[in-house]
Protein backbone atom coordinates (compact mmCIF):
# COMPACT_ATOMS: atom_id res chain seq x y z
CA UNK A 1 0.00 0.00 0.00
CA UNK A 2 1.30 3.46 -0.88
CA UNK A 3 2.42 5.35 2.23
CA UNK A 4 2.35 9.15 2.16
CA UNK A 5 3.73 11.44 4.84
CA UNK A 6 2.39 15.00 5.11
CA UNK A 7 4.35 17.62 7.03
CA UNK A 8 2.16 20.19 8.76
CA UNK A 9 2.79 23.01 11.18
CA UNK A 10 0.87 25.48 13.33
CA UNK A 11 1.31 29.19 12.64
CA UNK A 12 -0.11 32.51 13.89
CA UNK A 13 -3.24 33.23 11.86
CA UNK A 14 -2.17 34.97 8.61
CA UNK A 15 -5.57 36.71 8.59
CA UNK A 16 -4.56 38.62 11.75
CA UNK A 17 -5.28 42.26 10.90
CA UNK A 18 -2.04 44.21 10.43
CA UNK A 19 -3.16 46.67 13.11
CA UNK A 20 -3.19 43.85 15.69
CA UNK A 21 0.06 42.26 14.62
CA UNK A 22 2.73 42.99 17.25
CA UNK A 23 6.24 41.79 17.92
CA UNK A 24 8.16 41.45 21.19
CA UNK A 25 11.49 42.76 19.88
CA UNK A 26 13.46 41.69 22.95
CA UNK A 27 12.25 38.10 22.73
CA UNK A 28 12.23 38.21 18.91
CA UNK A 29 8.80 36.63 18.89
CA UNK A 30 5.38 37.48 17.53
CA UNK A 31 2.95 38.27 20.35
CA UNK A 32 -0.15 36.06 20.46
CA UNK A 33 -3.32 38.07 19.86
CA UNK A 34 -6.12 37.44 22.38
CA UNK A 35 -9.02 35.86 20.57
CA UNK A 36 -7.07 34.98 17.42
CA UNK A 37 -5.95 31.36 17.67
CA UNK A 38 -3.03 29.88 15.74
CA UNK A 39 -4.04 27.89 12.68
CA UNK A 40 -2.70 25.03 10.63
CA UNK A 41 -0.45 26.21 7.78
CA UNK A 42 -2.82 26.46 4.80
CA UNK A 43 -0.28 25.20 2.24
CA UNK A 44 0.54 22.18 4.40
CA UNK A 45 -3.20 21.47 4.71
CA UNK A 46 -3.33 21.50 0.91
CA UNK A 47 -0.56 18.91 1.06
CA UNK A 48 -2.93 16.75 3.14
CA UNK A 49 -5.69 17.43 0.61
CA UNK A 50 -3.39 16.33 -2.22
CA UNK A 51 -2.62 13.10 -0.36
CA UNK A 52 -6.31 12.43 0.18
CA UNK A 53 -7.04 12.93 -3.52
CA UNK A 54 -4.24 10.51 -4.40
CA UNK A 55 -5.72 7.97 -1.97
CA UNK A 56 -9.14 8.35 -3.57
CA UNK A 57 -7.64 7.74 -7.00
CA UNK A 58 -5.68 4.68 -5.84
CA UNK A 59 -8.49 3.22 -3.76
CA UNK A 60 -6.33 2.89 -0.67
CA UNK A 61 -3.19 4.40 0.89
CA UNK A 62 -1.76 5.14 4.31
CA UNK A 63 -1.41 8.80 5.26
CA UNK A 64 0.76 9.84 8.21
CA UNK A 65 0.87 13.41 9.51
CA UNK A 66 4.19 14.74 10.79
CA UNK A 67 4.35 17.96 12.78
CA UNK A 68 7.26 19.70 14.47
CA UNK A 69 6.06 22.08 17.13
CA UNK A 70 5.01 22.65 20.73
CA UNK A 71 2.20 20.62 22.33
CA UNK A 72 -0.35 23.19 21.15
CA UNK A 73 0.49 22.26 17.57
CA UNK A 74 -1.57 19.11 18.23
CA UNK A 75 -4.51 21.08 16.80
CA UNK A 76 -2.89 21.14 13.37
CA UNK A 77 -2.37 17.38 13.54
CA UNK A 78 -5.97 16.84 14.66
CA UNK A 79 -7.26 18.93 11.77
CA UNK A 80 -5.33 16.79 9.29
CA UNK A 81 -6.58 13.61 10.97
CA UNK A 82 -10.14 14.92 10.76
CA UNK A 83 -9.67 15.51 7.04
CA UNK A 84 -8.92 11.81 6.70
CA UNK A 85 -5.29 11.08 7.54
CA UNK A 86 -4.64 7.88 9.51
CA UNK A 87 -2.19 8.75 12.25
CA UNK A 88 0.03 11.53 13.51
CA UNK A 89 3.56 12.00 14.75
CA UNK A 90 4.45 15.10 16.71
CA UNK A 91 8.05 16.20 17.20
CA UNK A 92 7.97 18.11 20.47
CA UNK A 93 11.13 19.01 22.34
CA UNK A 94 12.71 22.28 23.47
CA UNK A 95 15.72 21.28 21.42
CA UNK A 96 13.68 21.53 18.21
CA UNK A 97 12.57 25.12 18.82
CA UNK A 98 13.50 28.18 16.76
CA UNK A 99 15.63 26.33 14.25
CA UNK A 100 16.40 27.70 10.81
CA UNK A 101 15.08 25.70 7.85
CA UNK A 102 18.15 23.44 7.77
CA UNK A 103 17.98 22.53 11.48
CA UNK A 104 14.23 21.92 11.24
CA UNK A 105 14.69 19.82 8.11
CA UNK A 106 17.21 17.63 9.95
CA UNK A 107 14.62 16.79 12.58
CA UNK A 108 11.82 16.16 10.06
CA UNK A 109 14.05 14.04 7.82
CA UNK A 110 15.11 11.89 10.78
CA UNK A 111 11.45 11.34 11.64
CA UNK A 112 10.55 10.49 8.05
CA UNK A 113 13.37 7.97 7.95
CA UNK A 114 11.97 6.38 11.11
CA UNK A 115 8.62 6.09 9.28
CA UNK A 116 10.08 4.10 6.36
CA UNK A 117 8.97 2.64 4.07
CA UNK A 118 7.21 5.57 2.43
CA UNK A 119 6.47 6.56 -1.16
CA UNK A 120 5.74 10.26 -1.07
CA UNK A 121 6.37 13.19 1.26
CA UNK A 122 4.06 16.18 0.85
CA UNK A 123 4.79 19.66 2.23
CA UNK A 124 3.34 23.09 1.76
CA UNK A 125 5.35 25.31 -0.59
CA UNK A 126 6.18 27.73 2.25
CA UNK A 127 4.69 28.34 5.67
CA UNK A 128 2.82 31.61 6.25
CA UNK A 129 4.87 32.53 9.29
CA UNK A 130 8.44 32.76 8.01
CA UNK A 131 7.43 32.61 4.31
CA UNK A 132 10.75 30.91 3.51
CA UNK A 133 10.02 27.78 1.45
CA UNK A 134 13.36 26.06 2.09
CA UNK A 135 12.69 23.23 4.56
CA UNK A 136 11.04 20.83 2.07
CA UNK A 137 13.97 20.94 -0.40
CA UNK A 138 16.42 20.27 2.41
CA UNK A 139 14.35 17.33 3.69
CA UNK A 140 14.47 15.94 0.16
CA UNK A 141 18.24 16.36 -0.06
CA UNK A 142 18.83 14.80 3.36
CA UNK A 143 16.80 11.76 2.29
CA UNK A 144 18.14 11.64 -1.27
CA UNK A 145 14.67 12.23 -2.73
CA UNK A 146 13.76 14.01 -5.95
CA UNK A 147 11.93 17.21 -5.09
CA UNK A 148 9.24 18.91 -7.13
CA UNK A 149 8.08 22.29 -5.85
CA UNK A 150 4.91 24.39 -6.21
CA UNK A 151 2.51 21.71 -7.38
CA UNK A 152 -1.00 22.61 -8.47
CA UNK A 153 -1.84 18.98 -9.19
CA UNK A 154 -0.29 15.66 -8.17
CA UNK A 155 -0.95 12.15 -9.46
CA UNK A 156 0.59 8.83 -8.46
CA UNK A 157 0.53 5.93 -10.89
CA UNK A 158 2.71 2.79 -11.07
CA UNK A 159 5.52 4.10 -8.91
CA UNK A 160 5.75 7.43 -10.74
CA UNK A 161 4.77 10.88 -9.64
CA UNK A 162 3.19 13.25 -12.16
CA UNK A 163 3.10 16.84 -11.11
CA UNK A 164 1.71 19.97 -12.65
CA UNK A 165 3.66 22.85 -11.22
CA UNK A 166 3.13 26.59 -11.19
CA UNK A 167 5.63 28.90 -12.84
CA UNK A 168 5.50 32.67 -12.87
CA UNK A 169 4.27 32.66 -16.47
CA UNK A 170 2.29 29.44 -16.69
CA UNK A 171 2.54 25.75 -15.83
CA UNK A 172 4.93 22.88 -16.33
CA UNK A 173 4.36 19.14 -16.05
CA UNK A 174 7.09 17.08 -14.43
CA UNK A 175 7.49 13.36 -13.90
CA UNK A 176 9.71 11.54 -11.44
CA UNK A 177 9.82 8.13 -9.85
CA UNK A 178 8.87 7.40 -6.27
CA UNK A 179 9.89 7.85 -3.52
CA UNK A 180 9.86 11.62 -3.94
CA UNK A 181 8.94 14.84 -2.18
CA UNK A 182 6.46 17.39 -3.50
CA UNK A 183 5.47 20.84 -2.23
CA UNK A 184 1.93 22.07 -2.77
CA UNK A 185 0.77 25.53 -3.82
CA UNK A 186 -2.65 27.17 -3.36
CA UNK A 187 -3.49 26.54 -7.03
CA UNK A 188 -4.32 22.95 -6.00
CA UNK A 189 -7.73 24.27 -4.96
CA UNK A 190 -9.83 24.02 -1.83
CA UNK A 191 -9.05 21.61 1.00
CA UNK A 192 -11.97 19.53 2.29
CA UNK A 193 -13.62 20.72 5.50
CA UNK A 194 -14.08 17.93 8.05
CA UNK A 195 -17.61 17.17 9.21
CA UNK A 196 -18.28 16.91 12.94
CA UNK A 197 -18.42 13.13 12.64
CA UNK A 198 -14.88 13.07 11.17
CA UNK A 199 -13.57 15.48 13.82
CA UNK A 200 -14.87 13.13 16.52
CA UNK A 201 -13.41 10.09 14.79
CA UNK A 202 -10.06 11.88 14.61
CA UNK A 203 -9.92 12.03 18.41
CA UNK A 204 -9.50 8.24 18.39
CA UNK A 205 -6.62 8.24 15.91
CA UNK A 206 -3.13 7.61 17.23
CA UNK A 207 -0.76 10.55 17.75
CA UNK A 208 2.74 9.69 18.93
CA UNK A 209 5.17 12.25 20.32
CA UNK A 210 8.89 11.95 19.60
CA UNK A 211 11.70 13.85 21.29
CA UNK A 212 15.17 14.61 20.00
CA UNK A 213 16.51 11.39 21.56
CA UNK A 214 13.71 9.34 19.97
CA UNK A 215 15.09 10.50 16.62
CA UNK A 216 18.65 9.55 17.52
CA UNK A 217 19.76 13.15 17.04
CA UNK A 218 22.01 15.30 19.16
CA UNK A 219 20.46 18.59 20.33
CA UNK A 220 23.35 20.43 18.66
CA UNK A 221 22.03 19.32 15.26
CA UNK A 222 18.57 20.85 15.59
CA UNK A 223 16.78 23.98 16.80
CA UNK A 224 18.70 27.13 17.55
CA UNK A 225 21.84 25.14 18.36
CA UNK A 226 21.82 23.54 14.93
CA UNK A 227 21.16 26.71 12.97
CA UNK A 228 23.60 28.53 10.70
CA UNK A 229 21.27 31.52 10.27
CA UNK A 230 20.85 33.60 13.38
CA UNK A 231 17.81 35.80 13.88
CA UNK A 232 19.32 39.08 15.01
CA UNK A 233 16.24 41.25 14.88
CA UNK A 234 12.47 40.89 14.41
CA UNK A 235 10.45 44.07 14.06
CA UNK A 236 7.38 45.61 12.49
CA UNK A 237 8.36 48.03 9.71
CA UNK A 238 6.69 51.42 9.90
CA UNK A 239 4.49 52.51 7.00
CA UNK A 240 4.88 56.23 6.55
CA UNK A 241 2.28 56.99 3.91
CA UNK A 242 -0.43 59.41 4.98
CA UNK A 243 -3.54 58.86 2.92
CA UNK A 244 -5.45 61.83 1.61
CA UNK A 245 -9.11 60.80 1.50
CA UNK A 246 -10.96 62.28 -1.43
CA UNK A 247 -14.60 63.00 -0.59
CA UNK A 248 -17.67 64.27 -2.31
CA UNK A 249 -21.44 64.66 -1.96
CA UNK A 250 -21.78 61.68 -4.26
CA UNK A 251 -19.55 58.85 -5.41
CA UNK A 252 -19.52 60.53 -8.84
CA UNK A 253 -18.15 63.74 -7.36
CA UNK A 254 -15.47 61.98 -5.30
CA UNK A 255 -14.46 59.92 -8.32
CA UNK A 256 -14.16 63.03 -10.47
CA UNK A 257 -12.09 64.80 -7.82
CA UNK A 258 -9.76 61.82 -7.56
CA UNK A 259 -9.17 61.85 -11.30
CA UNK A 260 -8.43 65.58 -11.26
CA UNK A 261 -6.13 65.19 -8.26
CA UNK A 262 -4.18 62.45 -9.98
CA UNK A 263 -3.97 64.59 -13.15
CA UNK A 264 -2.62 67.51 -11.10
CA UNK A 265 -0.10 65.17 -9.46
CA UNK A 266 0.90 64.15 -13.00
CA UNK A 267 0.07 60.54 -12.26
CA UNK A 268 -2.34 60.22 -15.18
Amino acid sequence: MVHMICCVKQVPDPETPASQFKVDEAAKKVLPVPGIDPVADEYAILGVEAALRIREALGEAKITILCLGPEAARDAVKKALAMGADEGIQLTDKAFEDGDSYATARALAAAIKKLEPFDLVLCGRQAPDWDVGVTPSVIADLLGLACVTRASDVKVADGTLQVERVLSDGFETVETSLPALVTISNELGEPRYPQLREIMAAAKKQVTVWSVTDLGLDPSQVGVAGSALSLDRLYVPVHEAKCEFIEGETADEAAGKLASTLREAKLI
Binding site: P14, E15, A18, S19, V23, V30, D100, S101, Y102, R125, Q126, P128, W130, D131, V132, V134, S137, V138, D141, A146, C147, V166, S168, D169, G170, F171, V174, E175, T176, A180, S185, A228, L229, S230, L231, D232, R233, L234, Y235, V236, P237, H239, A241, C243, E244, F245, I246, E247, A251, A254, A255, G256, L258, A259, S260, T261, L262, R263, L267, I268
Partner: protein, 330 residues
Protein backbone atom coordinates in the same frame (compact mmCIF):
# COMPACT_ATOMS: atom_id res chain seq x y z
CA UNK B 1 36.92 25.84 2.42
CA UNK B 2 38.70 28.92 3.75
CA UNK B 3 39.86 32.33 2.56
CA UNK B 4 36.53 32.95 0.92
CA UNK B 5 36.47 36.08 -1.17
CA UNK B 6 34.03 37.59 -3.60
CA UNK B 7 30.35 38.11 -4.14
CA UNK B 8 29.02 35.58 -6.63
CA UNK B 9 25.76 36.09 -8.49
CA UNK B 10 23.97 33.19 -10.13
CA UNK B 11 22.81 34.83 -13.33
CA UNK B 12 19.63 34.19 -15.27
CA UNK B 13 19.09 34.62 -18.96
CA UNK B 14 15.54 35.12 -20.21
CA UNK B 15 14.51 35.28 -23.85
CA UNK B 16 18.03 35.81 -25.12
CA UNK B 17 18.95 38.61 -22.73
CA UNK B 18 20.03 39.06 -19.14
CA UNK B 19 17.04 38.82 -16.83
CA UNK B 20 16.34 42.21 -15.25
CA UNK B 21 16.70 40.66 -11.80
CA UNK B 22 20.27 39.61 -12.64
CA UNK B 23 21.27 43.20 -13.33
CA UNK B 24 19.58 44.24 -10.07
CA UNK B 25 21.40 41.56 -8.06
CA UNK B 26 24.70 42.49 -9.74
CA UNK B 27 24.12 46.08 -8.67
CA UNK B 28 23.74 44.93 -5.06
CA UNK B 29 26.74 42.59 -5.44
CA UNK B 30 28.91 45.44 -6.70
CA UNK B 31 28.02 47.63 -3.73
CA UNK B 32 28.69 44.84 -1.22
CA UNK B 33 31.91 43.76 -2.92
CA UNK B 34 33.22 47.33 -3.03
CA UNK B 35 32.64 47.64 0.69
CA UNK B 36 34.42 44.36 1.33
CA UNK B 37 37.23 45.13 -1.13
CA UNK B 38 36.43 41.90 -2.95
CA UNK B 39 35.55 41.00 -6.55
CA UNK B 40 32.14 40.34 -8.10
CA UNK B 41 31.78 36.98 -9.78
CA UNK B 42 28.93 35.60 -11.84
CA UNK B 43 27.86 32.05 -12.63
CA UNK B 44 26.25 31.71 -16.06
CA UNK B 45 24.58 28.32 -16.47
CA UNK B 46 22.67 27.14 -19.52
CA UNK B 47 23.05 26.04 -23.08
CA UNK B 48 24.35 28.50 -25.66
CA UNK B 49 24.70 31.15 -22.96
CA UNK B 50 28.37 32.04 -23.39
CA UNK B 51 27.62 35.13 -25.55
CA UNK B 52 25.92 36.68 -22.52
CA UNK B 53 29.09 36.66 -20.41
CA UNK B 54 30.10 40.13 -21.65
CA UNK B 55 26.72 41.53 -20.62
CA UNK B 56 27.39 40.31 -17.07
CA UNK B 57 30.72 42.13 -17.08
CA UNK B 58 29.02 45.29 -18.37
CA UNK B 59 26.51 44.92 -15.51
CA UNK B 60 29.23 44.74 -12.86
CA UNK B 61 30.89 41.33 -12.80
CA UNK B 62 34.69 41.07 -12.70
CA UNK B 63 34.79 37.38 -13.55
CA UNK B 64 32.19 35.18 -15.19
CA UNK B 65 32.18 31.40 -14.82
CA UNK B 66 30.34 29.88 -17.75
CA UNK B 67 28.87 26.39 -17.61
CA UNK B 68 27.46 25.72 -21.05
CA UNK B 69 25.94 22.25 -21.43
CA UNK B 70 22.94 20.54 -23.06
CA UNK B 71 21.79 19.24 -19.64
CA UNK B 72 21.32 22.90 -18.67
CA UNK B 73 19.10 23.83 -21.62
CA UNK B 74 16.02 23.99 -19.38
CA UNK B 75 16.01 24.56 -15.65
CA UNK B 76 15.94 21.37 -13.61
CA UNK B 77 17.38 21.44 -10.12
CA UNK B 78 19.18 18.09 -10.42
CA UNK B 79 21.30 19.57 -13.23
CA UNK B 80 21.62 23.18 -12.07
CA UNK B 81 22.49 22.44 -8.44
CA UNK B 82 25.68 20.43 -9.13
CA UNK B 83 26.71 22.91 -11.86
CA UNK B 84 26.26 25.88 -9.52
CA UNK B 85 28.03 23.99 -6.75
CA UNK B 86 30.99 23.33 -9.01
CA UNK B 87 31.31 27.02 -9.84
CA UNK B 88 31.01 28.01 -6.18
CA UNK B 89 33.73 25.57 -5.10
CA UNK B 90 36.01 26.92 -7.79
CA UNK B 91 35.25 30.59 -7.15
CA UNK B 92 35.18 30.22 -3.34
CA UNK B 93 33.04 33.33 -2.74
CA UNK B 94 32.20 34.82 0.66
CA UNK B 95 28.68 35.62 -0.54
CA UNK B 96 26.38 33.96 -3.09
CA UNK B 97 23.33 35.83 -4.37
CA UNK B 98 20.42 34.71 -6.53
CA UNK B 99 17.17 36.38 -7.59
CA UNK B 100 13.95 35.32 -5.89
CA UNK B 101 12.59 33.89 -9.14
CA UNK B 102 11.18 30.51 -10.24
CA UNK B 103 14.79 29.33 -10.53
CA UNK B 104 16.17 31.07 -7.46
CA UNK B 105 13.43 29.75 -5.15
CA UNK B 106 14.18 26.22 -6.26
CA UNK B 107 17.97 26.34 -6.69
CA UNK B 108 19.11 28.40 -3.68
CA UNK B 109 17.96 26.10 -0.85
CA UNK B 110 19.58 23.06 -2.43
CA UNK B 111 22.77 24.89 -3.42
CA UNK B 112 23.12 26.09 0.18
CA UNK B 113 22.66 22.51 1.36
CA UNK B 114 25.41 21.28 -0.97
CA UNK B 115 27.73 24.05 0.23
CA UNK B 116 26.91 23.14 3.85
CA UNK B 117 25.58 26.56 4.59
CA UNK B 118 22.16 28.25 4.79
CA UNK B 119 20.27 30.78 2.67
CA UNK B 120 18.03 33.73 3.60
CA UNK B 121 15.23 33.93 1.03
CA UNK B 122 13.55 36.91 -0.61
CA UNK B 123 15.75 39.58 0.98
CA UNK B 124 14.71 43.21 0.79
CA UNK B 125 18.01 44.59 1.98
CA UNK B 126 21.63 43.45 2.07
CA UNK B 127 24.37 45.27 3.94
CA UNK B 128 27.85 44.67 5.27
CA UNK B 129 28.59 45.07 8.97
CA UNK B 130 31.95 44.07 10.49
CA UNK B 131 32.73 42.11 7.36
CA UNK B 132 29.55 40.03 7.63
CA UNK B 133 26.50 40.10 5.41
CA UNK B 134 23.37 41.40 7.14
CA UNK B 135 20.25 40.13 5.39
CA UNK B 136 16.83 41.69 5.92
CA UNK B 137 13.74 39.87 4.75
CA UNK B 138 10.00 40.16 5.24
CA UNK B 139 8.06 37.49 7.13
CA UNK B 140 4.62 36.89 8.61
CA UNK B 141 3.12 37.76 5.26
CA UNK B 142 4.97 41.07 5.21
CA UNK B 143 3.81 42.16 8.66
CA UNK B 144 7.32 41.88 10.07
CA UNK B 145 10.94 42.14 8.97
CA UNK B 146 13.63 39.73 10.13
CA UNK B 147 17.34 40.49 10.11
CA UNK B 148 19.78 37.59 9.81
CA UNK B 149 23.47 36.89 9.70
CA UNK B 150 24.96 33.54 8.79
CA UNK B 151 27.57 31.69 10.83
CA UNK B 152 28.80 29.60 7.91
CA UNK B 153 30.40 30.39 4.56
CA UNK B 154 29.44 31.26 1.93
CA UNK B 155 26.70 33.53 3.15
CA UNK B 156 23.74 33.14 0.80
CA UNK B 157 20.67 35.15 -0.04
CA UNK B 158 18.00 35.38 -2.69
CA UNK B 159 17.02 38.91 -3.54
CA UNK B 160 13.49 40.24 -4.04
CA UNK B 161 12.72 41.45 -7.52
CA UNK B 162 12.88 45.24 -7.88
CA UNK B 163 14.41 45.77 -4.45
CA UNK B 164 17.90 46.62 -5.71
CA UNK B 165 19.23 49.16 -8.19
CA UNK B 166 21.18 47.81 -11.16
CA UNK B 167 24.32 49.64 -12.31
CA UNK B 168 24.16 51.57 -15.56
CA UNK B 169 25.54 49.04 -18.07
CA UNK B 170 29.13 49.89 -19.01
CA UNK B 171 30.25 48.04 -22.11
CA UNK B 172 33.79 49.30 -21.63
CA UNK B 173 34.19 47.31 -18.39
CA UNK B 174 36.82 44.61 -18.56
CA UNK B 175 36.48 41.21 -16.98
CA UNK B 176 37.51 37.61 -17.18
CA UNK B 177 35.47 34.76 -18.63
CA UNK B 178 36.25 31.24 -17.47
CA UNK B 179 34.65 28.12 -18.89
CA UNK B 180 33.78 25.37 -16.44
CA UNK B 181 32.92 21.86 -17.59
CA UNK B 182 29.50 20.75 -16.40
CA UNK B 183 30.37 17.14 -15.49
CA UNK B 184 26.70 16.40 -15.05
CA UNK B 185 25.69 12.78 -15.30
CA UNK B 186 22.37 12.96 -17.23
CA UNK B 187 21.10 9.92 -15.32
CA UNK B 188 21.47 11.89 -12.09
CA UNK B 189 18.66 14.17 -13.24
CA UNK B 190 15.70 12.49 -11.62
CA UNK B 191 12.91 14.68 -12.93
CA UNK B 192 11.65 14.87 -16.49
CA UNK B 193 9.79 17.88 -17.84
CA UNK B 194 6.94 16.46 -19.87
CA UNK B 195 5.25 19.69 -20.90
CA UNK B 196 5.11 23.42 -20.50
CA UNK B 197 2.16 25.74 -20.93
CA UNK B 198 2.70 29.46 -21.03
CA UNK B 199 -0.32 31.39 -19.86
CA UNK B 200 -0.42 34.06 -22.50
CA UNK B 201 -2.45 36.40 -20.37
CA UNK B 202 -1.71 39.15 -22.86
CA UNK B 203 -1.32 42.87 -22.39
CA UNK B 204 1.57 44.70 -20.85
CA UNK B 205 3.67 42.58 -18.51
CA UNK B 206 2.91 43.42 -14.90
CA UNK B 207 6.60 43.55 -14.09
CA UNK B 208 7.10 46.30 -16.68
CA UNK B 209 3.90 48.28 -16.21
CA UNK B 210 4.07 51.89 -15.05
CA UNK B 211 0.36 51.89 -14.23
CA UNK B 212 -1.42 48.93 -12.71
CA UNK B 213 -5.05 48.53 -11.66
CA UNK B 214 -5.49 45.77 -9.10
CA UNK B 215 -8.69 43.96 -8.19
CA UNK B 216 -9.36 42.10 -4.96
CA UNK B 217 -11.90 40.03 -3.08
CA UNK B 218 -14.47 42.81 -3.26
CA UNK B 219 -14.69 42.68 -7.05
CA UNK B 220 -17.19 39.85 -6.87
CA UNK B 221 -16.94 38.27 -10.32
CA UNK B 222 -14.95 37.61 -13.49
CA UNK B 223 -17.03 40.22 -15.34
CA UNK B 224 -16.14 42.87 -12.77
CA UNK B 225 -12.56 42.72 -13.95
CA UNK B 226 -13.63 43.94 -17.39
CA UNK B 227 -14.16 47.38 -15.89
CA UNK B 228 -10.63 47.31 -14.55
CA UNK B 229 -9.32 46.25 -17.95
CA UNK B 230 -11.12 49.19 -19.55
CA UNK B 231 -9.55 51.54 -17.02
CA UNK B 232 -6.09 50.05 -17.45
CA UNK B 233 -6.32 50.24 -21.25
CA UNK B 234 -7.22 53.92 -20.98
CA UNK B 235 -4.12 54.56 -18.90
CA UNK B 236 -1.94 52.24 -21.01
CA UNK B 237 -1.47 50.06 -17.96
CA UNK B 238 -1.95 46.47 -16.84
CA UNK B 239 -4.41 44.68 -14.59
CA UNK B 240 -3.39 42.57 -11.60
CA UNK B 241 -5.27 40.70 -8.91
CA UNK B 242 -4.90 39.56 -5.34
CA UNK B 243 -4.52 35.88 -4.47
CA UNK B 244 -8.11 35.85 -3.20
CA UNK B 245 -9.41 36.99 -6.60
CA UNK B 246 -7.25 34.45 -8.44
CA UNK B 247 -8.27 31.64 -6.10
CA UNK B 248 -11.90 32.49 -6.98
CA UNK B 249 -11.01 32.09 -10.65
CA UNK B 250 -11.81 35.74 -11.46
CA UNK B 251 -8.42 36.49 -12.94
CA UNK B 252 -5.52 34.36 -14.27
CA UNK B 253 -2.86 33.11 -11.86
CA UNK B 254 0.08 34.83 -13.67
CA UNK B 255 -1.64 38.14 -12.90
CA UNK B 256 -1.50 37.58 -9.17
CA UNK B 257 0.41 40.27 -7.31
CA UNK B 258 1.80 39.44 -3.90
CA UNK B 259 4.07 37.30 -1.77
CA UNK B 260 3.48 34.17 -3.85
CA UNK B 261 2.79 36.11 -7.05
CA UNK B 262 4.37 38.95 -8.94
CA UNK B 263 6.37 41.78 -7.45
CA UNK B 264 5.65 45.00 -9.31
CA UNK B 265 6.94 48.56 -9.22
CA UNK B 266 4.50 50.83 -11.05
CA UNK B 267 4.48 54.59 -10.68
CA UNK B 268 0.74 54.31 -10.01
CA UNK B 269 -1.16 51.40 -8.45
CA UNK B 270 -4.91 51.70 -8.19
CA UNK B 271 -6.18 49.15 -5.66
CA UNK B 272 -9.85 48.38 -6.22
CA UNK B 273 -11.79 46.47 -3.54
CA UNK B 274 -8.52 45.27 -2.02
CA UNK B 275 -8.22 45.06 1.76
CA UNK B 276 -4.47 45.59 1.77
CA UNK B 277 -3.42 42.38 3.52
CA UNK B 278 0.33 42.27 3.94
CA UNK B 279 0.70 39.26 1.64
CA UNK B 280 -0.61 41.35 -1.27
CA UNK B 281 1.30 44.48 -0.26
CA UNK B 282 4.49 42.37 -0.31
CA UNK B 283 4.16 42.40 -4.10
CA UNK B 284 3.89 46.17 -4.16
CA UNK B 285 7.06 47.08 -2.32
CA UNK B 286 8.18 48.89 -5.46
CA UNK B 287 4.94 50.79 -6.16
CA UNK B 288 5.55 54.52 -5.95
CA UNK B 289 2.01 55.85 -5.59
CA UNK B 290 -0.88 53.79 -4.30
CA UNK B 291 -4.49 54.89 -4.64
CA UNK B 292 -7.30 52.80 -3.17
CA UNK B 293 -11.04 52.44 -3.38
CA UNK B 294 -12.57 50.35 -0.60
CA UNK B 295 -15.91 50.22 1.20
CA UNK B 296 -14.20 49.85 4.59
CA UNK B 297 -12.64 53.01 6.03
CA UNK B 298 -10.55 50.78 8.36
CA UNK B 299 -9.10 48.73 5.50
CA UNK B 300 -5.33 48.21 5.84
CA UNK B 301 -4.80 49.41 2.28
CA UNK B 302 -5.31 53.02 3.35
CA UNK B 303 -2.14 52.83 5.48
CA UNK B 304 -0.14 52.50 2.29
CA UNK B 305 -1.96 55.02 0.14
CA UNK B 306 -1.31 58.48 -1.10
CA UNK B 307 -4.98 58.95 -2.02
CA UNK B 308 -8.09 56.99 -1.20
CA UNK B 309 -11.83 56.92 -1.56
CA UNK B 310 -14.07 55.12 0.91
CA UNK B 311 -16.85 53.70 -1.19
CA UNK B 312 -18.21 50.83 -3.25
CA UNK B 313 -16.06 50.39 -6.33
CA UNK B 314 -19.19 49.86 -8.43
CA UNK B 315 -20.21 53.46 -7.75
CA UNK B 316 -16.73 54.96 -7.83
CA UNK B 317 -14.77 53.31 -10.63
CA UNK B 318 -17.19 53.91 -13.55
CA UNK B 319 -17.36 57.70 -13.00
CA UNK B 320 -13.62 57.71 -12.31
CA UNK B 321 -13.07 55.97 -15.63
CA UNK B 322 -15.26 58.50 -17.42
CA UNK B 323 -13.43 61.44 -15.87
CA UNK B 324 -10.05 59.95 -16.79
CA UNK B 325 -11.28 59.47 -20.36
CA UNK B 326 -12.44 63.08 -20.42
CA UNK B 327 -9.13 64.39 -19.03
CA UNK B 328 -7.16 62.38 -21.55
CA UNK B 329 -9.23 63.72 -24.42
CA UNK B 330 -8.38 67.31 -23.50
Amino acid sequence: MANESGVLVVAEVAEGALAAITAEVLGAARRLADELGQPVQAALLGQGVEPHAQKLIAAGADKVYVVDDPTLAEYQSDAFVPAAEKVCREANPAIVLLGQTDIGRDLAPRLAFRLETAVAMDCLDLAVSDGRLVMTRACYGGNANAQHTCKTMPQMATVRVKSQEPLAPDTSRQGEVSKVAADIDPSAVRTKITGRRKEEAGGIRLEDAEVIVGGGRGMGSVEAFQTLEELADLMKGAVGATRAACDMGWYPIPKQIGLTGKVVSPTLYIAVAISGASQHMAGLSGAKNIVAVNKDPEASIFRYCRYGIVGDWKTVIPPFLNKVRQLKAE
